[in-house]
Symmetry: D4
Subunit: 248 residues, 8 copies
């Protein structure tokens, strides 16, 4: 395609339809706008069913609704993360079909039907306090067109609870492990399952958990090979990475 | 399979072929040895062509050659990482077919032929100082049975060098990005390519690079969605995670 | 016991009382539920007088009262930690016998009588600002069925105050030392008493106390042999560990 | 000049116009008041058009208006940074010509006309969340008498957006790069443009961004030569440094 | 006893057997020498079989042999920790019965027979690289007169290995858990066993393990109640604390 | 004196004025209460004019007024630090002569007249934002019976301002230097004056000042010999140390 | 020029000298190589007299001499930084005109004559231990074609030494301030001179200097406006930034 | 004095003894050389018996002997700190009266007789590993003309050892407390003695002592009022500060 456009231009020059000067000017602009388009292609996701993502942290309700309106007019699906109840209230006034997940603090608009594929992403979490991150990941996986299963409260302090759910976890194609405090769950799951594992440290804990640093270090140093890690509380990022694997 | 074994045992009990006491004893061992086998299955990799991995750091030449001898007798392929020249010398005395990658500090024994699959892992690195990590990752991908391509010295200070190799990178199924100093390459590649990206911070740098912490933080905070991260200088871990994705 | 159950099952299969298929199904569940039971045994504490523990931080009043109701119906004693006054108000509405320790922020329900044993846990604290942690530890020791003595405001700046209480401290079976700021008390007590010492750093202090890190490091580096440490402000954890020693 | 003054004084002593005692007194004050004057000269900026700068953080409205009144009476231009809306309200009551930039939290009084010079400072920012820092820098550059251009939302996750603005950036004399999260933009711009680059890390981000430390380290470790760095969120400092270069 | 001594002295004064001046002199010394003796009692361990402990780090061979000679003459048992081969060579020249543990870097002299008590301390370690710390703890437990069992290479990456040894671990009276890298083993053991657990983080690992900080934080934040922690690589301290519990 | 008391007691015993049992009881208390008295002597300061100090942070108004009432009845002078306006309101209701320094957040009761001694403590501060720490130090020096002079707003950015005040500073017996941000003032003063210098880092600053860590490190690393340092914002501690020197 | 090449190509197509297909192929490569050329232009510096820079850290003598040979053949001037004596020995064998600065650890080849311009960069350093960084900066400024003046050993502990050199410093166009330990020099110079100041923290110091972190934080938090900072010990980076300003 | 010199100069001008030009030249130098002289006065110590101090870290033997020669010719006493045996060997070749303290790594030349004053500085240290810092402090106090007493191995793990030496400590005018590991000794001494206390954290320890950070934080957070702190291992600095107090 890109090559086709270039050839068309060259033929126009060869045929004298455009001058050498005009051709030179157009060509100088080409590489970046072309490159830009490619980037937009996968990031802005004009492909069917992929949502635009709005990160709401530090944006006012007005800013978010402005962006939403612009996108809805273009017919794009939308996933908004880190959205407060106030932001949702403003969005739903404008766009009544918007749906809010108060725990995960996500807004979804025009989301497609839940995938009925056999393949799914398992989202495994240590404790109930990790639920906000679990829900952000869950909504993101779904908004990106895939199916997810939640397996919660299976922390290593009561490892039998994890084993009771191991069958489900092993059937997943990709596994997201969410844990705060000491974050040991990622290593244990990594030792039991032979699938890509994306670990999300959470800020759950106090004192020497240092807002998630303890869990982050645990996951980076995991003795189980093949565990990869995202930022603290970054349920969205883990789900996005999982979706990139699902898409292969 | 597991269920089949249990049923066979129960039928032996029902038929009186083995006593209740014998059956009880065997059953008590079952869950763990069975579980154990599963774990061994993917970690110790008795499946065709998968290597045993020996982490040599802090092991003496005697210890490493002892483990190697034990494994070679069992006919297993072997990948040894963080192996010094001295360790290799001891191993090759014992096992002449052993091959050493001095930059990546890896030893491979009985490794299968290089995969000729279309699919490959791209290992993209910022600078020549990152080569040890690149080579460790490269040897690991190959030892795990997959093909890898190295794209080195494409750091963001001269971004045209990255663009010149973008076509190759975009053809990869999984991308490992290796960078030290400020580690910005992962974010830039993440913005240009729509594939799973595993970032490896390296300890290359000085002063405020703090032995790789700067690059690690950069990668964890990447503004490009879907970048996952492994430990500093952990080329093996990134390659292991990439192989788990390739295997899907 | 566990073996007895397995034998009973096998005999039922041998006798044809249950089919091989039924037996296989039950057996598949056994190891984990059995293992699970053991874990529940000591964690969930069905043994007489041991409480269920609810960590209230980050749970809503509704969530806590829901858990309490479920447990009270099962006749379990309850210890709730990090409970705000609001949470207690909701709990006491539902369960009028609930008792609140506003300083220690603990709720106890159906707690047994205070132990009249000679043996006790000494809870030694540097200053009055450490009292919340002291009270959390005190309530936990009691809820776990043991006796505790509080020795407060004996910080090393006025070491005579500590000496005046040394006789009491030396009579304890286990000693919990609670201190913020520079946390030197643990080392001093460790040098004077030949008993297990569990040190709790507190977040009391300002500036370079870094929310308890200074006291934590002091205690980890104690020149007095045999001092062990728990997380910052973790009065519950210290008391739980002390109770595990008392129980021996 | 200074020497001239000293000689004049000595001649007055030599001529008996002033006594030795008077001369001694005056001389004792000379070096410091003279030195002091020089310092005041460039800091307090009595040169035409240079503003007095008031850092409002931690000052009450009364304190700020007191300083403003004192300066306005002396006819000085004023730039106040880190000014809340409340502080501005108090200032504008007293000085109706005061202008407020609510995003950049700056107040300007008696500012001269916008420079129409060809030369300008480019203020390049990664995302919209970095706008407060951009605006603080923008107002400062203008208050110091120079022209600035804002190029915002050109983060490396969509590098084509940066390329589309590269022509403008390359025309600048000095470039301020503002970025939070992983702060990679400074390195990328540094690799594309051969001008002095002053990088401002921002506290935008969460988790392992540690309030701007991640971006700060990225910029300090930049693999692009010649990038210099100021404190986190210090838009004023970057603009002041840029102005010092513009003034050469 | 102390009171008895004081009374005897007072009676001697009352009876005129000693003068007021002599009594005053003796009394002034009493509290500290008495207190001192108590401290010496448990630290210097004149009780049968308890060793003197010498921390060799930063001491020359001459200094260590000097201390050893002094103690041997007093007939005390000796445990020397962090002793290099050179230090041992010097000691064994002087004291041929000295025994060296090269892995644990301990020297023992005149150690009593290994305890044959039923009760024992379990020393559970994640990997073979943790062996130096395991051996230091093992020698210390024995030198303090108790029995220890080593359970090594049961890290959470292959959790079946831990389960295979669980019966032994559960029979212990006190459990020391030794682990580097992410240190998750302490939490997992803590969830499976209802005994006092003392966790020792080790400096095993690289990159973001930060010389043991990652394992230290993991253990401090353990979600398993009752885990207490000692300094990084402090096998001696954990064993000393375990012995204090065994002695109860 | 202490010896005198002991001798008096012994003589009372020798004379039969008190029984051996009574003497023993009193003597048992002696060493600690005696030691305690010494400690109280300088800490609680029963010497003429020395105040009791109450650290109000984390104490309720009730607690503070309770302590104040107890002390006032004993006729002691009082210095309360870190006292909020609310705490002062409660105290002044009870004790109308109480005086509040709202900037320094100190309360003084029954303070003696300001010292008219020639000797004084110079309190030198970099900026007006450091004033709360300056005032806390000022009130403390005065409450401890010494004279202090404040030299404020002499930060190194305008070093002539410091030089203009150097004569005063050089006349002081002890110098307290208070500075936030980069805290360079302590080094500069240390290079100019040959007197004991106590440096107080303050939490004034933002971004990479890390709540005072930057200034703290600057002062600890001062290239000017003889600068000693106290905790961040610890004006009281610096003044207490200065008073201990003044008292020599 | 770039445009000229494109026009030449287009004319070749218009003239039929090359086919449309050939033209398309060449053009596809163009934008990046073209962009690359621009980047090379300023980084690799084909402009008269600008050197190629080789960072030798972590490169073998063979690698460095290989790069040098390649460059010398192309007639480029060369600056090699962080070069050990061994590396220089290898280089000078191959290229006898190479010059070594053993303190600054730099190699220069074919460097042009020292600039005799009035304008110069002042390199101001606190102590003699900072000389390696001073020399690296000095050689870099000269290799980039500008003149530099060194003003060393003017640390703030003896501020009169700085004042004695102030006239020279004030005549500079750009000032590089090099300081370790507490790094206060940058703030003091910043308060005395109205020129662009680039601060280089050095790793000179011990204890709480943390390898240069203390000086780095001091400089980032400088209360003197307009100070910008580079990485610890990065004399090259500061000189490169200074040269970019000199070039304006 | 200073004023006298100025007046003398002015009178010489008034009398025509020197010309206005000569006077101006001399006066221009005056403020700095005068200021400089003052600084030199106390730092370079031309007062009787005060030594020049050479910090040898990072200086070659040649550099140190060069400085020594220059000073010896000027008849100054010398104290060299952080001097290796090699440096001393070079110095003693040149200056046979040089004396070396190998533990404290100090060289003294022409030092005056030990002070026989009643007043002394007590240097109190926790353990024998702290001796290098103790010796550096001891030599410094003596080189500065004062008397010091060493009280070593009185760490808080055996607090009776401290009490046995308390009488000596209390007689000191200034107390330096040297401690590594958890550094609790400073707080305990601070609670027992009413004298200026200067605390020196040492790098003695391992693991979480972080090279002295733990002891440093302990001392900064001391609950004993009036403890001031110097850099890690900075025995010289503590002694210099103590001498400044002794000199009052």
């Amino acid at each position: 395609m890109n090559t086709l456009e270039i050839k068309a231009l060259l033929e126009a020059v060869a045929n004298g339809n455009i001058s050498v000067d005009e051709g030179a000017k157009e060509l100088e602009m080409l590489p970046f706008s072309d490159l830009g388009y490619a980037v937009i292609d996968h990031h802005r996701a004009h492909r069917t069913g992929h949502p635009e993502v709005i990160y709401c942290e530090g944006k006012t309700s007005e800013q978010v609704t402005g962006i939403v309106q612009h996108m809805v007019e273009k017919g794009v699906n939308i996933l908004a993360t880190r959205a407060s109840q106030d932001v949702f209230n403003a969005v739903v006034d404008q766009c009544p079909s918007a749906r809010y997940n108060p725990l995960g603090r996500t807004i979804t608009i025009n989301s497609h039907d839940v995938s009925s594929s056999e393949d799914f992403v398992a989202i495994v979490a240590a404790g109930t306090s990790d639920l906000p991150v679990v829900e952000e990941a869950y909504e993101t996986v779904m908004a990106l067109g895939f199916r997810a299963e939640k397996i919660v409260d299976v922390g290593v302090a009561g490892i039998h609870r994890l084993f009771a759910r191991l069958d489900t976890i092993r059937k997943a194609k990709v596994i997201i492990v969410v844990a705060g405090m000491e974050g040991a769950l990622a290593s244990v799951v990594g030792g039991l399952v032979d699938k890509p594992i994306i670990a999300v440290p959470t800020s759950v804990g106090y004192g020497a958990s240092f807002g998630g640093i303890s869990a982050l270090l645990t996951m980076l140093n995991s003795c189980s090979s093949g565990v990869t890690v995202v930022n603290i509380d970054n349920g969205f990022g883990a789900a996005f990475a999982a979706a990139q694997i699902m898409r292969l």
